[in-house]
Amino acid sequence: MRPDLNLLLAGFGGQGLLFGGKVVAYSGLIEGREISWLPSYGPEMRGGTANCSVCISDEPIGSPLVLTPNALIVMNLPSLDKFIDTVVPGGIVIIDSTMISKKVNRSDVSVFYVPATKLCEDNDLKGLANIVLIGKLFKSLAHCSEEALDKAIIKSVPASKKDLIDLNRRALKLGIDFE
């Protein structure tokens, strides 16, 4: 049995966290696993917080709400402060360090600082920081095959925006390659 993934993605609304979560969810589905995806947003249309729970498991998923993630992707400070203590010991935390300068002081989790927003700006991939961070997640956990991840991108991008697929692939690679 492969290990469960209980992923929480958190940040501002508009940072593409829900889409990122969808890519991860599809990567699980493509490998025939049980998955769930659950968004949660504040009442603001813009500028509010948004987060997304993704579960991947070989067992049917009970609660789709990830309260104690074993992987956390954060893209703003309030979310880091809010969720950092919920990560289970041994879990991983991936931080967009362009958006968050603070450092985590927990030693029982692995923390990765990825300047995803900056990387995207530098590479003409504006708005794809979310995907960079997912690249990093994949790199750290290898929760699915690279092929599944690629298919997940294809599945997640709406049919009308096919041209975005390649941009997403490039962002993914930025994250995978980032040391």
Binding site: P43, E44, M45, R46, G47, G48
Partner: protein, 258 residues
């Protein structure tokens, strides 16, 4: 140097939750300025609708009541009848006032309830994420008119000032916009008059404010104002649709507030 412009006293010192560039904030300010200028904060009770402005109750320093979707005019009626000396205003979006609340709106108007209605027409349902409103323009793309509002299936937009002007109970019906400095100044005057009418017991006053929703229109704030000018104003001509305040104030006995 002296301060010539600052945050009005009646506006709470909190960050409003509106999206960047959403003109709800301007309208809030104009109301707060009016309350300050008329010195009525202590006796004003505002009614927040259901819509993006639902949290207006946190933004004004006067007493506030949060009404059910569309029912602000009825709540206002209850408040005003209970405390005729209080100044009661409702703040309502187009979904709230012109869709679900149409009956309450028409009837508060025809009753000539001595209240002030600030009607924010942004041609969309903001809070719920951009559905078609009764005021969405023909052809306008929204979440629930993804191919553009088809008037044959979804009907025509409602022009609220024109509709209400046919009612004998209405004292003031004016449409303004907050897309530029000039119009904001006109809007301020209209809003102030709508409150003054109430203070003077002249009955129902409504100010329709053409407003923007950059988020759900999918435009940058300044582009949104551009779109507003180019598309909404032709359909919703600005101006005074009815104004009996002069007639009425000279002949208070006939139409005075209750």
């Amino acid at each position: 140097m002296a301060i010539v412009f600052q945050r009005p006293k009646s506006l709470a010192e909190v960050n409003m939750h509106y999206c960047p560039g959403c003109t709800h904030g301007i309208i809030h300010r104009l109301i707060a300025e009016t309350i300050d200028e008329l010195e009525i904060e202590g006796k004003t009770v505002g009614i927040a609708p259901v819509g993006c402005s639902v949290r207006a109750y946190d933004y004004f320093n006067c007493d506030m009541v949060q009404a059910a979707h569309g029912r602000a005019p009825a709540v206002a009626t209850g408040l005003k009848r209970a405390r005729p000396d209080n100044i009661i205003f409702t703040y309502q979006g187009d979904g709230d006032l012109a869709a679900i609340g149409m009956a309450e709106t028409v009837h508060a108007a025809t009753r000539g309830e001595n209240i002030t209605v600030i009607f924010v027409n942004n041609a969309i349902y903001g809070m719920t994420g951009g559905q078609m409103a009764p005021t969405s323009l023909p052809g306008q793309v929204t979440q629930t008119s993804p191919y553009g509002r088809d008037v044959r299936a979804a009907g025509y937009p409602i022009r609220v000032c024109e509709l209400l002007s046919t009612l004998d109970g209405v004292t003031l019906a004016q449409r303004v916009a907050v897309d530029c400095v000039k119009n904001v100044r006109i809007a301020k005057k209209a809003i102030k008059k709508a409150f003054e009418n109430q203070v003077n017991g002249l009955g129902y006053s409504i100010v329709e404010v053409i407003s923007s929703c950059p988020t759900n229109w999918g435009l940058a704030p300044n582009e949104a104002l551009e779109w507003l000018r180019g598309n909404m104003l032709p359909y919703y001509p600005l101006g005074v649709y009815k104004d009996l305040s002069i007639d009425k104030s000279t002949d208070k006995s006939a139409e005075g507030g209750m």
